[in-house]
């Protein structure tokens, strides 16, 4: 139950971020969540969108450098200790996280964590065994 994430290369300059976002806006593609990694010279914009195939095609055709990556979305209780709990599980199982980001879920009292694991399949096995609520596309993009 992996989720597709789109990553875009963004130069560190004015307007670099707005170009892909307005392109998606015009196409009516909603961004469920995003994270931006920045360095001195460049950034990487990571996006979760429902119709990722359409978004990828659109962005590529407009000369953006796009990559799709498998990430894992996890639903947790939106309360103190919710994240720490999951991280405890990961640490115990020696699962390496490349990066992660989070957003409040549409549901009351829930939040979603997006994890980019070094080995996503291995991570999925461990998380299921631990009874963690891993979200599939159907859940994540529920209207």
């Amino acid at each position: 139950m992996k989720i597709k994430q789109l990553s875009l290369f963004i130069e560190n300059r004015t307007g670099a971020l707005s170009a892909p976002c307005s392109l998606l806006a015009k196409a009516g593609i909603n961004i469920v969540t995003l994270s931006l990694a920045d360095t001195q010279n460049f950034g990487i914009l990571r996006l979760i969108v429902k119709d990722w195939r359409k978004a990828e095609k659109l962005l590529s055709s407009h000369d953006f450098t796009v990559k799709t990556t498998d990430v894992v979305a996890i639903e947790i209780d939106d309360r103190p200790g919710g994240l720490a709990n999951i991280l405890g599980v990961l640490e115990k199982s020696a699962l390496n996280v490349e990066y992660m980001y989070a957003f409040p879920s549409g549901k009351d009292g829930k939040a979603v964590l997006v994890f980019r694991f070094e080995k996503p399949d291995e991570a999925l096995k461990v998380l299921s065994a631990e009874g963690v609520n891993v979200l599939g596309e159907a859940h994540l993009f529920k209207d």
Partner: protein
């Protein structure tokens, strides 16, 4: 110890070959030319093959004009025979090797016998003498010591002159300035751009160079302009001299300005100059602009026969007011190829291309951007990020960036900044890609 030494007068002896009568000089030149061509033919396969193909022999050289029958030698010949293929002496007689950048990955290697070093030292001694230096001068040598010919070439010439040499080598500007103030330096050797950078730093530190004993700058290894000279002389109160040389021929010491600062005298008893049309290869008369071709008249370890320097200049027909009879070439400020000279280091765009190709496996769109800050040249290579190398992980892209920097440093020997840029941001051109964007303003020198 401030410079309290007395300066000797009569800097240059009139017995120097610089002042030989024209017919005497030409007699020496033709004798040496025959000898060197016969040596090259006898010891170097490439010369033998080329001369045989043209059906020309050393004995055919009756006058200096006959040099035009000999085949040219080009930089790629040094690459193709890398490392030692053009040597005309056994290793047991070669006492020194230097190297400079080639047109792609590998450098070119040059060799010297003891006699070659003596000739080189003599030509550098004459360079310093032409710039009005002599025993008693304190010469701070900021040319890089090492494989680059600048440092050691200037060093031995200065010692032979009887001057005091401070072998600082390049870089470390604050230390250069400390030595400049404390040791009573009277002459400074570096690239002109490094010296202008040092002037900037001096002014930031509140040091007034005009109040120091420094009186001459011996500047070379890169093209510079009259405007830059005017700026240097005005802000430092020194005389700024242009010198010329290239590793393939000997290193610095091929030619030098004299105190008239009006063209560079070529030490033509050692290095015979011709000007050719770079397109047709035809020899041009004095006073016409073309590509400088040099023949080493005395070099044993690695004779260069009609070496095409790619530097555009002309031989000045008029006699120089200084009395030197050896001819002058006009100051060089452009080339007939795409070689870039950054802080005295020769860089070919093809080297940059081969480095990027080696890292990425395929060639992305890239461009080389040159700029000048505080008189110092900067080079940045912008490389478009392709889907092949793009990653969602910052670390992976930063690693790519540092691998590019490393590969560029390996081929060029200087650290070049790499900027990853987005796809399609480098302007596409029809036909030949414009790889080099030169934002240095040569005229102004951007010296403010």
């Amino acid at each position: 110890m401030k410079s309290v030494r007395k300066r000797k007068t009569a800097p240059t002896s009139v017995t120097s070959p610089d002042f030989l009568q024209e017919d005497r000089l030409q007699k020496i030149q033709i004798e040496r030319l025959r000898k060197i061509v016969s040596r090259a033919y006898g010891h170097t396969e490439l010369y033998r093959r080329r001369m045989d193909a043209k059906g020309v022999k050393a004995e055919d050289l009756k006058s200096l004009e006959d040099i035009g029958h000999l085949p040219f030698t080009v930089k790629n010949d040094l690459r193709d025979t890398y490392p030692f293929g053009l040597f005309a002496s056994p290793m047991s007689e070669i006492v020194r090797l230097h190297a400079s950048s080639g047109t792609t990955g590998k450098p070119i290697v040059v060799a010297y016998t003891q006699q070659d070093l003596d000739v080189w030292t003599d030509s550098m001694t004459r360079t310093f003498a032409a710039c009005g230096l002599h025993s008693g001068d304190i010469i701070q040598n900021a040319y890089g010591y090492g494989l680059f010919t600048g440092g050691l070439g200037a060093h031995y010439g200065a010692e032979k002159l009887g001057a005091t040499v401070i072998p600082v080598s390049g870089g470390n500007t604050d230390r250069q300035l400390m030595i400049l103030q404390d040791f009573g330096t009277t002459a400074f050797c570096s690239t002109p751009s490094y010296f202008t950078f040092m002037l900037e730093r001096a002014s930031e530190m509140g040091i007034d160079i005009r109040k120091l004993p420094l009186r001459a700058g011996i500047f070379g290894a890169e093209p510079w302009t009259e405007e830059m000279r005017a700026h240097i002389e005005k802000s430092s109160g020194i005389k700024a001299y242009d010198i010329y040389g290239l590793s393939e021929i000997t290193g610095p010491g091929v030619g030098s300005e004299c105190e008239c600062q009006d063209g560079l005298h070529v030490f033509e008893d050692y290095f015979y100059p011709e000007i050719i049309d770079p397109k047709t290869g035809k020899v041009l008369p004095e006073g016409e602009e073309g590509e400088l071709v040099l023949t080493t008249l005395c070099k044993q370890a690695m004779p260069m026969i009609r070496y095409r320097t790619r530097d555009i200049t002309m031989i000045i027909p008029e006699k120089c007011e200084c009395g030197r009879t050896i001819r002058r070439i006009r100051r060089i400020n452009r080339r007939s190829d795409d070689m870039l000279i950054i802080r005295g280091v020769n860089i070919f765009p093809s080297q940059i291309e081969s480095a990027i190709l080696a890292v990425e496996g395929t060639l992305p769109h890239y461009q080389i951007v040159l700029s000048r800050e505080k008189g110092l040249d900067h080079i940045e290579v912008q490389v478009e990020v392709t889907e092949k190398v793009f990653s969602d992980k910052v670390g992976a892209l930063e690693e790519l960036q540092s691998r590019l920097v490393q590969a560029l440093e390996n081929v060029t020997s200087i650290r070049i900044g790499v900027r990853l840029v987005a796809h399609q941001t480098i302007k596409r051109s029809e036909g030949k890609a414009k790889r080099v964007i030169d934002n240095r303003d040569q005229k102004q020198g951007n010296l403010q």
